[in-house]
Structures are given as C-alpha cells and as structure tokens.
C-alpha cells in the first residue's frame, strides 16, 4: 500500500513536471552559463584551425564550409563573429573552459575531445572512396593494386586493409589510374567512383562548451535546417 502511494505520487510529479516542461518549451533546456542568451545580438567567439576543405585560412577571415555555416548562423542570431585562430589543443582547452562559444576544425564524431566538450550531431557524412581515372577498366577488388593517397592522412592505412599499396602524393590525383578521395573530389577530377570500394566514413560535427544545452540545441536545429546548404557548399 505504501509502495503504491509512493509510486503514484512519483508518477504524478512526473506527469506534472513533463507538462510544465512542454508548456514552457522555449526556455527549456537551459544553459548553465547562458551562452545562447549572450551570443544573441552579442558576440560569438569562434575558434578555428586549418582543416581543408572544412576550414581554409584566409587573409582576414577563414573560408571554407564551416566558416560559411558559422556566418549564416551569426546572421540568424544577429551576432558579431570574433574569429580566434589557434592550434586544436589550445582551442579545445579554451572551449572546455567556456572561453569560446564554438570551435570549427573539421572535427568528426571520433574526436578524442568528445567526452570533454559538447559535440553536435553529425551535420554531414562524407565518405572517402577509391576512384578510377577515365578510360581505365573497372575493378572489383583492390587486391594487389596501387592507389594514390594524400600525404599526412590515415587513408593509406585503409588502402592497406584492402591488400593494396598506397602511393603517397602531395598533389592528387596526379595522373594515377586509382586515387582515393571524397565524393566531390573524385567528381572534380573526373574520376569514376568505385562504390564498392569505400575506404572511410567521416561524420562531421561542430564543438561547443560542455553542458550548454540550449546553445547546443539551437546550433543543431540550425544545422538540421541547413542540410541543403551544406551539400551545396560541398560541391
């Protein structure tokens, strides 16, 4: 009997609480540090680091896919952007300490910082494929083949997993019969995408200070509504 009483009061509190939440939806969830309130018609402190094609350093302001997204977001919020360049390590530390409001660095959901800061849900998924130069015969397997890969990435590792040899190039595709690249890169080189030879998937995210849930939700909602813009920017 006592248990039933306790449980039913729990349930009542729960239902009441939920109704209260739904009624006051616009102010829920809240930011412990009021980031969203501060950046609206205020200053948006954005940390950036070079990560082409996501973030391309420019003369005054960074260019590329993520800066373009940030500029439309700032316009939507009526915010002025304060760009802060730096190394990824320093910028993530600053973000964790709430000294930045947003960090763009071509970050994916595999980032080792994912438990320290808030990451948005992936706003775009990109895939690295093997592409074949025009006029080459199509292949079903990479076994024993040589694939041109960019220097300074982990693509070579995935090529070796297919029992193929990576050939490191500073400039791609450089006339190689097989080359690794994102969908849009293959397209611009005129290479045929080999759909069965998918090397790597990347889920791109943006980073915000930890626990600023109203701000995170506002940013994610913006990204969700601008999926079409993202795909346009990728082309």
């Amino acid at each position: 009997m006592k248990l039933v009483l306790i449980s039913s009061s729990f349930l009542l509190a729960l239902v009441g609480g939920l109704l209260g939440l739904l009624a006051g939806n616009s102010h829920y969830p809240k930011d412990p540090n009021d980031t969203l309130k501060r950046v609206q018609h205020g200053t948006l402190r954005v940390g950036y680091t070079r990560a082409e094609p996501w973030v391309v350093p420019g003369l005054q302001e960074p260019q590329g896919i993520e800066p373009a997204l940030v500029r439309s977001l700032a316009q939507r919020l009526g915010a002025r952007i304060e760009w802060v360049g730096g190394t990824e390590q320093h910028l993530f530390e600053a973000l964790k300490a709430h000294e930045l409001d947003l960090l763009i660095a071509g970050t994916t959901d595999e980032s080792p910082w994912k438990t320290e800061v808030g990451l948005t849900r992936p706003y775009v998924e990109t895939t690295v494929y093997v592409g074949a130069a025009p006029g080459t015969t199509l292949i079903a397997s990479l076994k024993g083949q040589t694939v041109a890969v960019p220097l300074g990435t982990d693509i070579g590792h995935f090529v070796r997993q297919h029992d193929a040899q990576p050939a490191y190039r500073a400039q791609l595709p450089g006339g190689a019969p097989l080359a690794a690249g994102y969908e849009w890169q293959l397209q611009s080189w005129g290479y045929r995408r080999l759909n069965n030879l998918e090397l790597k998937k990347e889920n791109h995210v943006l980073a915000v200070p930890p626990g600023e849930n109203a701000w995170l939700l506002a940013l994610e909602t913006f990204l969700y509504q601008h999926q079409a813009q993202v795909h346009q920017l990728l082309r």
């Binding site: 248990l3 449980s7 729990f10 729960l14 609480g17 939920l18 939440l21 829920y28 969830p29 809240k30 930011d31 412990p32 438990t115 800061v117 808030g118 990451l119 948005t120 849900r121 915000v208 930890p210 626990g211 600023e212 849930n213 995170l216 939700l217 994610e220 909602t221 969700y224």
Partner: protein, 315 residues
Amino acid sequence: MTSPKHQELPPELEAPLARAKKLEWLTASYVLSVLVVMYLALGQSQAMKTAWADDMLGLVAPVSFLLTTRFVRRNATPEFPYGYHRAATIGYLTGSAALLIIGTLLFFDGVKALASGERPSIGLAVVLGYPIWAGYLMIAALIWSTVPSYFLGKAKLPLAEQLHDKVLYADADTNRADWQMGTATIFSIIAIGWGWWWADAAISLVLSGSIILDGYKNLKQAVFDLMNQTPKTVSRQDDDPIVEKVAGLLCGLDWVREVKIRMREEGHILYGEAFIIARNTDNILAKLHQASADTHRLDWRIKDFVLAVVDELPE
C-alpha cells in the same frame, strides 16, 4: 529409509512454476528491449549510464532463474549425491558479486564526474523527421524502463513466496528497485534541462550507492546460504518456521525423549538431520519409518531428512 526423488514438486505448485517461468521469459525479453531503447537514447548523462548498467544487471536474475530451474530438478547422481539444488545458490552468488562490482565502478565514475565538474551535453534528436531535444527521448526510454518493471515485480512476489524461490524473490526486488531508479534518472534528465548539471552526477551517486547496497546484501546472503545457514524465509528476514514445525512434530512422539535438529537450505530444498534419544527402542525401525514419512509430509521442501537414533546428542 526412503530415498526421495529430487525433482518432485507438489502438483499444486506446477502451475505457479509455469507462470514464473513465463514471467521470467517475459522479463528477459523486456530487459533486452529496454537495453536497446536505452542504448539508442544514451547520451552523456552519468545517471543515464548508471541506469543502463543497472538494467543490464536486470538480466542476471531471470537468466539464472531460467537456467537453474532446468538444472536443479535433475535427479541426484553418484557424482552429485545431493542433487543439483545448489546450482541456484551459485547463480545467486555470481549475480550478486556482479552487482557489487558494477555498483562500485559506477560510484567512482560518479565521484569523478562530480569532482571534475563534468557537464553533460544533451542536444538534438530527430524522431520521424521531427527535431526535438534528446532529453525528451531519454525520458521516454526511461519510462519504458520503469512502468513495466513495476508490474513485473508485483506479479513475481507472490510466486516467489509460493515456490520459496530466492532468485525469483531477488528478481522481483530488482524490478521494484528499477522503478525507483528509472524515476530518479528521469529527474536527473529534467534537472540537466534546468541547467543543474551537478544534479546528474549527484543522482548517479545515489543510484550506484543503492546498487552497491543491493549487491552487498545479496552477496552476504549467498555466502551464508553456501555456509549452511539455518533456513530463512524467502524474504530472508526471519528464521523459517519450518524448523520449529519439525521439532514440534518429533518432540510430540511418545517414544522420543530428546531431539536435536539441524537443517540447511539447498536452493529451494531443505536437507537435514534429527538426532533422537529414544525412551525405548522397541520396534524402532517401524517407528522411525513412520516419523520420517510424517516429517516429509509436513512440507514439500523437506526432501532429504535423515532420522538418527543416538545415545548422546551432538554438540
């Protein structure tokens, strides 16, 4: 003396056993569904992680019940002359040890989260094309992990008493605890939404504390059972009145002068000996036979009770 069959259950308990098995199958599949739903909604909330681990432990009792009910009723063999009843206790021991260990790990996780001021981020989820705050999704998952639990626990309690099954009783208890844990976790998600980031870690600490207590209580009882503690009621609070009942029966016999009884539990079944000093030993075999039959008739759980006529009672 008769050598009773170990697998016998009185016919009137066959129906409750079948029902208990059905409930445990239901519980196992329900817990699996909760695990999937919770995993999909799992975010950075520490309380949510704690609740998930606790839900996973909810599988231990149903699985060990279903496994042990297959084993425990097997006949005794020359290799295992006392039968397989203790399989139930071993299942119980491992389950409660798991509870204790996981509770402790989660407790330190919670302390770390609170001490370092970790702030859980909960963002957007898209449900059937509608963007909503993921916290609502978590709350929905948690409601699925609580409400059915409560009714399952309630349905199992009377069956556990009837069958004198401690694993089933512990499971019913776990279901009851799940209900409270889930509700506390819902509050912690609501609190995160209010910007009270510390409430999440604090609630997870309380929850892990309750897992630790549960684990300790059950581990202690499992060890006591293995050490042949005197029989206890299924809720483990009191001495089982059955010992008194057997003593009453034997003391009431006119040929018995003094009697000393030792009993122990093996799973559902009671084993034991009575040492008897007889007033006279005329026709003693027939008298012992009769007394043994009467004792075994007292309760279905008395399966292997040995009567021994002695000169002197053992210490």
